[in-house]
Symmetry: none
Subunit: 99 residues, 2 copies
DNA sequence: CGTGTAAGGAATTCTGACACG
DNA sequence: CGTGTAAGGAATTCTGACACG
């Protein structure tokens, strides 16, 4: 079975900004905070998927509710696949930043 | 019901070129010959959908078989979905004129 | 912390034209 | 006809930094 269109990283940040209503600044910041993981073209431009659009909508909603990025990341990390990889490094880093 | 991701015009020509294996020159030419209809950003850059990717793959195959662009266009026009779209467009136009 | 913005540069895309065949 | 290419310009995106709060 082929890869679903939903997960193909083919959309530039400008379109993502339009689709989500978020500014490019916000979108890049959420990446910096490890909430989303776009791919890159050879030249370095970010490429997103429709799944990312949905995720960003989810992130935006939580931000509006006053949640902070590290809290959102923690919540996402409860999913088993990502947890093993990132729990140690990033969660500890997030913890240190709070102090 | 919301619009399927497959039909959203959100992909730049560079990615389309990668996905289809066609050059940008070819893709723009097929547009000139009315085989595909990308949307445009405010700045004028072309935006395509995954459906366009499939259509381009179909066009590429026919071109390899020696078919010419006008033949492909004629063939496309026979397809019911396109006919329906044109019909609907005419009806809409007629309806607008009556108002 | 999360976001806006100005800055300078690099990557991307655009059009119209010339070439070949 | 269909496609390659060089040209010049415009739109898009990138990073790092400063600002505010």
């Amino acid at each position: 079975m082929t890869l679903d269109y939903k997960d193909k990283k083919v959309i530039g940040i400008g379109i993502i900004s339009e689709l989500t209503g978020l500014t490019e600044r916000q979108i890049r910041y959420y990446e910096e905070r490890k909430l989303i993981f776009p791919e890159r073209s050879n030249g370095g431009t970010r490429k997103y998927s429709f799944a990312d659009v949905e995720r960003l909508a989810d992130i935006a909603e939580k931000m509006e509710d006053g949640m902070q990025t590290f809290e959102i990341r923690k919540e996402e990390m409860k999913r088993s696949d990502v947890r093993d990889k990132m729990l140690k490094g990033q969660l500890n880093a997030a913890f240190r930043m709070r102090k």
